[in-house]
Symmetry: D2
Subunit: 337 residues, 4 copies
């Protein structure tokens, strides 16, 4: 860490901060600049003391040098982690494709979709049984009945099941049916839930919260990794900005940045990231071009009557076209899909 003192800080304040740095077990290195003095604190631990030093007298700011996460860091592990869960593999040369309805609504709806996405090349089936909904008056999901239908779909199609878990107390139930536990954007910082999935042997798809920084996302992953579960996929699904013509803003440079900082594979969600069906095919292709290791896409046999997210769901036919487009772009990037 670099402790930057205010201009005109007294020698007493500089001495005080030097002592504080040493109390924290770090080596202090005082550099007297032409206008300001800075104290380099060497031996920085990631469980940083940044906050504590910031309260010191005449401190202008504290600049950390190390990232706050550890197990997730590519500095610790050079090669990209390949997460495998049944038919789904994410992190290798082949791009994983998770497709299916926002919510499980009925056996017919789910099976129709599962067959269609399987035929078009999806490698996993998504479907929500526990639905966190903004309004208490919206459809809240089929719960365990939905999970059973998902297991049926896996039995028939062989597709791995990706489904959301919304509370620590549901983890063992959902893990009985699912191959991948999805942590939704609203729960990215539900640490009790992160700890609970960290103790399972199921792969985890961790979605970025719409106002989370990437350090916060990586620290959320760190909770899971620190619990002993190494199979974490990160998912970019859009951030909240002033743009109103899309539901969220999908910042694809995130994929490139994260690939530099972490060995965890990166999935992109162009359905939530745009909120409009007509934007999904090209944004899926753009995600592949940006280097995504996986895609997660909403598909519904009849979007107009979907109980949730119809406005951003592809029909099975549109999904076929999207896959073709992504396959060509993946080829251009020397990857497969």
């Amino acid at each position: 860490m670099i402790v930057v003192m205010k201009q005109g800080a007294s020698q007493a304040d500089i001495d005080h901060m030097t002592a504080r740095v040493e109390e924290l077990g770090l080596k202090a290195h005082v550099i007297v600049g032409t206008e300001r003095t800075v104290i380099a604190a060497i031996g920085e631990k990631r469980e940083a003391h940044k906050e504590s030093l910031e309260s010191g007298p005449s401190v202008a700011e504290v600049l950390p040098i190390l990232a706050p996460y550890k197990i997730a860091s590519r500095e610790i592990k050079q090669e990209t982690t390949v997460v495998v869960a049944g038919s789904l593999s994410v992190g290798g040369n082949r791009i994983g494709v998770i497709a299916g309805p926002c919510s499980v609504e009925s056996e017919e709806q789910l099976m129709t979709t599962a067959r269609a996405v399987k035929a078009a090349g999806a490698t996993a089936l998504r479907g929500g049984a526990f639905k966190p909904r903004t309004s208490p008056y919206s459809f809240q999901g089929m719960k365990e009945d939905g999970l059973k239908l998902l297991a049926t779909a896996r039995e028939e199609t062989g597709l791995a099941i990706v489904t959301e878990v919304v509370a620590a107390e549901d983890v063992s139930l959902v893990a009985r049916y699912a191959d991948v536990l999805q942590i939704g954007a609203r729960n990215m910082q539900n640490y009790r839930l992160l700890e609970a999935v960290g103790k399972t042997d199921r792969a985890v798809l961790l979605k970025r919260g719409p106002s989370a920084t990437l350090d916060e996302l990586l620290l959320a992953a760190e909770y899971i990794l620190d619990g002993g579960n190494p199979n974490v996929m990160l998912c970019e699904r859009g951030i909240r900005t002033f743009e109103s013509h899309t539901r969220f803003t999908l910042p694809l440079a995130t994929v490139i940045y994260l690939h530099g900082k972490t060995h965890l594979p990166i999935v992109v969600d162009p359905s939530h990231g745009t909120g409009h069906t007509y934007m999904v095919p090209q944004m899926a292709a753009a995600s592949v071009a940006a280097g995504a290791d996986g895609l997660i896409l909403e598909v519904h046999p009849e979007p107009e009557t979907a109980l949730s997210d119809g406005y951003q769901s592809l029909t099975p036919d549109q999904f076929v076209e999207t896959m073709e487009l992504c396959r060509r772009v993946a080829g251009a990037m020397n990857r497969e899909i």
Copy 2:
């Protein structure tokens, strides 16, 4: 709702959407404009069909007329709700002041703070026992031991206790000790938790998530209200924007907007809203001028050694000055503190 058709929508599409509106139990009213046709859907329910109509053919957009929340709405209840919990009252002419450390760290730290804030006029004591922390390596709170210390502090000072609950399974434990259950910003859309506090008889302080819209905040409150608990205070604590000189951006116009839309009282948190001790006194005063019904402020006897949030905590002396400032501004606004 107003269904806006695309320019050049065919009569078939218009007829289709008219039929869809009527299928949903609404009365369709077709208005042929000079350039576009719009369909007014009369009898709109709040459990809106907006999503479903948006997927229709040739629909450009669907504009809702009614707010999506109901019980929280001032259209339903004209007078402001006064939430009373022990010594704390929020929503009346007197402004409630909740003060105390970010985390409960020790008996001495807590009792020193409790006595100081009581003496300076605070009407409730805050202190975290269960701490949701961005990093798994940060101090995670004293848990039930912290709750016990809070109860001791109430016993001595008479101050109502405000403390955070982070998971549904902890609600009954925390409710045994606390007067007010705080839902933190990270958990604003943890619906399982909202439902759990909705079933208690404890008042709830619901903090806005840093990227939540005000409709989302009011719908989160609706989960609690719908569970049967009418004692909800909303808390503005800052949103995430491109500004980097403050930890969050504190948008005080929110207080005025919410007072127009809901009967629930509004608390402001200038400590998290700025992230810098030196900004807190004036932003607390500004919050009062904007019409806040309550303030929540971090106070620590020795911010430099605090285990969390020292950089935004007031010392007891600074709290005394802040209270004096706020008292004068409250007087200017014809309120008391």
Copy 3:
């Protein structure tokens, strides 16, 4: 427009607003809903009266139905405009590529870059002679001497010249040398400048301001179009959000949205849109996948000594690789580059 009255609006207020709508030359259509009354104003002109109606008594909000821009709208002109300026063509099947240094620094620097980007397939040369710089202490550009060097580069390479103009009084000077007048992000709403370039016969590259909505961007284009100049290219170069690991956030869904709303061609700037050289190749490829009609890229023979923007400039070798990548992705999208 739809004028939404507040709940409980009096008949007098409804009558007043009905009269106001008719005073504005529109036909008022009153719809009494179950909870609220709305007034549809038919015959809406784009020079909308929205603002004026919003001040009316008991008006909750005014929802416009028509977009505020006209000449730029795809409703007016179905086929995409192809802007041609010398060797550059943007809007057709072939993607235009504008490449070159941020600033013109010397003859050697410019000629080296011009030859390199030409050889790699660029169809126009960029280079700033008038540089709007955040700090008055930064290099401000070579001015007319820079323009002369650009003209020399065109003479040798045949590449069309794209260069920024920062003030109305410079338009005729810059137009003497340039094929395309670039309006920078900071000047997107410099209306005097927009009017001035609207009166020239030079093509215009209009960059989006970092907090401009797309309606504001299209209205800025409308100033140019309304002045009589139909050759406008829009450029997405990133918006300001809370993300700090990129200089700006590049929202590629913008390309898809704009293609739906306007016939003007869309260029993407992944150099400014990311602010990091290492992100540029993949984000350029992603831009092509999202449907961009053109790319603008910063290239410098020796980024480390560049007088501006070195940290986001490609070397000539990196530009060659970026072009190869984009060419393959363009092929996947059935386009050429």
Copy 4:
């Protein structure tokens, strides 16, 4: 500056960067940490070489220690600048109040407003003659005729005139009539215009752009100061965020931050900062509580028929009430109005 090297940077890269730092005339101080090496560059000039160093091999990031602005900095000048222009004084204990219509529309409209705001205690009159409008189809202002009416209003009421100038070529014309030249938010980075007003002897009111950082705002001020004009007031008028219930988000902590960084006085604009008349009185009071040195408020005798900004204009009666409220809050803050 602190140059942070990537983990695993080679000794050759470290030596290269050390040499680069010394080439730039700075003293390099290499600190070998446990995980990374950093190079402190001592003697940093504000015309920073940050950009250039960022392009070096194995450089992770470059952290500046000094602010990029100089003349605007409070480190250079301790006492707050008091800007005086005719009847207006901003920066002293008494808060300056600039009030009047968005646009000058007619003699009657202007004189009615001028008399009313003077009677209520305003110390300057605002009114736009050159109007930068988002749409080319909106009212563009009365131009010089408007300036003449403003001069007439000054003659009768004695109020100093604050009016916008939108282009460098208009500066001498506008300066003939105005006491204060306003640079609008859209022109905050119109450097040609900043240079032009920097050469006049008129005071300048510089509005923050809606996505400008505070460093960018201070650097814009630096252009004016560097031109020789010391009479600059900064104006916070709201930033663009995801909030949609206000036109902009008014971040009042800005006032406190700027008071720490610069000696220039700070004005707040609650009219643009909220975009809703009903929010203006309380946000004006909150601005005073946050420490604003001045307020700028839109007032119109008949907002419903205003040619611009009616929805955020106060009537004269509302202005009287706002002034009373602000006067009481100013008293609470030990200031006058």
